[in-house]
């Protein structure tokens, strides 16, 4: 068989994603039970979510508002009237015997999101539909050999399912799209983006075809991918498997696959064909959802700023380079912190905005990465960081000294302590320890006095005093003589 690289350029994968996102409502989709993830097992349950006979569902209005936000943010069309349907199947984690979902009339459909590609181009990924549904309970299989344990807390938790068009042609595009969906959901404040806790899950539909072919190959579906790494690894593994099959003259057959992260392989589930007969029919216990034009206008008016809008604003209002704007706004909370720093700046100008952005992108980011914390756990106040940025922009300390000051500020536990450290270290670094600044002074004086340098180098060591005097004069007495001495000797002896 040819090498995988050759094959990768011969074949083109076609990928579509189905993303389930939990809406962060306080109560469940159709009953008043709490959606709290951390509650102890089987405490957030009632006759409705346990599927007791005669119990009736009542739609959570927040679910409708949330899905409309996502639909509008992704340029979907909104159906004026949509209904719920029953998807019938037997599984112990869903006691009713059916899931309440939307089938023929998803409330939102026909939208798109743009993703940024590696080569700085953008690509439009179509969104086929977004519909409302409820989650099932959680099964624990590895506790007993012959039985499973069920926790129904998650049963009835509101989800939206976002189905994309098969518009992605690489693993990279698929993960970027998922990232974009997550970012949009988090910006809209309708989902917490937490894949570990299952509030964002993904199924991937994959097929491959010879590059240039119009016809799609037979697809397979990988279920329940719950991290970005899993999505990227599983999709890669499945593309490889399908290419190998085709290369060895076999055919890809439609299958539901599961991904095993241990051996990085996808395998077909043993599901019987009958299992896919869901016998959808209109849910008789819920009336239709009507969305008026006023409702849509109302949602539009409360829609928060979206990622693209934020990037645009940072570029036009703060004059940030678009790559910087992109980086800062990637995470909504991080961008929020940046905006607080900006609002604390005494002098609102481009240089200060950019310096503040630089400190965030480098020094703050490094602390977050090193300590594995999120920006909400970062303890330096926006006011202190604004002060630091302004000292750099005004030239009272150098960019390299700024890093030293920043590292000292980190030791401050309270705002007051941090402000004190900032003040003290600004004095210290602007006076003595800004070696970068002193070194440039040293170099300047040496360049201006070539005769003396020559004489020093052939042995007239007492000229050192002459240079020190000149440098101190140039720095208006602020340079630390000790450091001046060290740097002077270093530069002269080079």
């Amino acid at each position: 068989m040819e090498s995988m690289n050759v094959l990768n350029s011969k074949y083109e994968p076609v990928i579509g994603l189905e993303i389930h996102a939990q809406m962060n409502t306080a109560s469940k989709a159709f009953c008043g039970c709490s959606t709290d993830f951390h509650s102890s097992p089987n405490t957030n349950i009632c006759p409705v979510c346990l599927g007791y006979p005669g119990a009736l569902p009542a739609l959570n209005e927040m679910l409708v508002d949330s899905i409309l936000k996502m639909g509008i943010a992704t340029s979907c069309r909104v159906r004026e009237e949509s209904i719920f349907a029953r998807k019938n199947y037997f599984y112990p984690d869903l006691t009713k015997g059916y899931q309440i979902t939307q089938f023929e009339t998803p409330i939102c459909h026909g939208g798109f999101l743009k993703i940024n590609l590696k080569n700085n181009e953008t690509k439009k990924i179509g969104i086929t539909r977004i519909h409302m549904e409820e989650d099932a309970g959680k099964s624990i299989h590895d506790f007993h050999d012959d039985s499973s344990l069920i926790d129904f807390n998650r049963c009835g938790v509101p989800l939206i399912e976002i189905v994309s068009e098969p518009d992605m042609n690489s693993v990279d595009e698929a993960t970027r799209f998922l990232q974009k969906i997550k970012q949009t959901l988090v910006y809209l404040e309708i989902n917490d983006g937490n894949m570990e806790e299952g509030s964002l899950r993904c199924d991937a539909n994959i097929s491959v075809r010879i590059k240039g072919d119009k016809k799609l190959g037979t697809r397979t579906e990988i279920k329940n991918l719950n991290s970005f790494k899993n999505v990227s690894d599983a999709v890669s593994a499945e593309i490889k498997r399908q290419i190998s099959l085709i290369e060895s003259g076999e055919k890809v057959s439609y299958n539901t696959m599961t991904y095993n992260a241990k051996d990085k392989k996808t395998t077909a589930t043993r599901s019987k064909e009958e299992a896919h007969d869901y016998r959808y029919f209109p849910e008789p216990d819920l009336v239709k959802v009507k969305v008026t034009k006023e409702k849509i206008e109302n949602i539009k008016s409360i829609l928060p700023e979206l990622p693209e809008q934020k990037v645009m604003r940072y570029v036009t209002e703060f004059k940030l380079p678009s790559a910087d704007a992109e980086e800062i706004s990637h995470d909504k909370d991080f961008a929020g912190y940046f905006e607080r720093v900006v609002s604390e700046l005494k002098l609102k100008n481009e240089n200060n905005y950019r310096t503040a952005g630089n400190i965030l992108r480098t020094d703050v980011r490094k602390v977050l990465n090193d300590r594995k914390i999120s920006i909400s756990e970062f303890t330096v106040s926006a006011k202190v960081l604004a002060g630091l940025a302004e000292s750099v922009t005004s030239g009272s300390i150098s960019a390299s000294a700024s890093r030293e000051v920043f590292n000292e500020i980190l030791f401050g536990n309270t705002d007051d302590e941090q402000i004190k450290i900032l003040e003290n270290s600004l004095k210290k670094y602007s006076q003595v320890s800004d070696t970068g600044k002193i070194e440039s002074l040293v170099k300047k004086i040496l360049e201006e006095n070539p005769e003396e340098v020559k004489r020093y180098k052939i042995g007239e060591k007492k000229l050192a005093g002459f240079f020190v005097g000149k440098i101190m004069q140039e720095s208006k007495g602020k340079a630390n003589p000790k450091i001046v001495n060290e740097l002077l000797i270093k530069n002269l002896e080079d």
Partner: protein, 96 residues
């Protein structure tokens, strides 16, 4: 549209029910009778009639997003044929 024994078998499988041959045959007869009865509708011209999705023709019945008191776990589990601690215990089914 006549119901075959194969159809009955499939419906039984989906409903997780088991029948012997005699019961299957009886069900096939019953199901055919029901379909024949429903078939009467085909005598009418329904071309321009929208399907009735809900007998209740109201719209937008919803509730505020407020948490209400849930059931007591003990009470919920008291109906379970089998349980372990705070969990419902069911026969193992992995393949979905």
């Amino acid at each position: 549209m006549a119901v075959s024994i194969k159809d009955v078998e499939k419906i039984a499988l989906l409903a997780k029910l088991k029948f012997n041959e005699r019961e299957m045959e009886k069900l096939r007869g019953d199901l055919n009778k029901i379909l024949e009865y429903i078939d009467k509708l085909n005598e009418l011209d329904l071309e321009k009639v929208n399907p009735l999705e809900n007998i209740n023709e109201t719209e937008n019945v919803s509730r505020e997003d407020k948490v209400k008191q849930s059931m007591d776990t003990e009470l919920a589990l008291s109906n379970a044929p089998s349980k372990t601690g705070k969990f419902f215990k069911v026969p193992k089914v992995i393949d979905k």
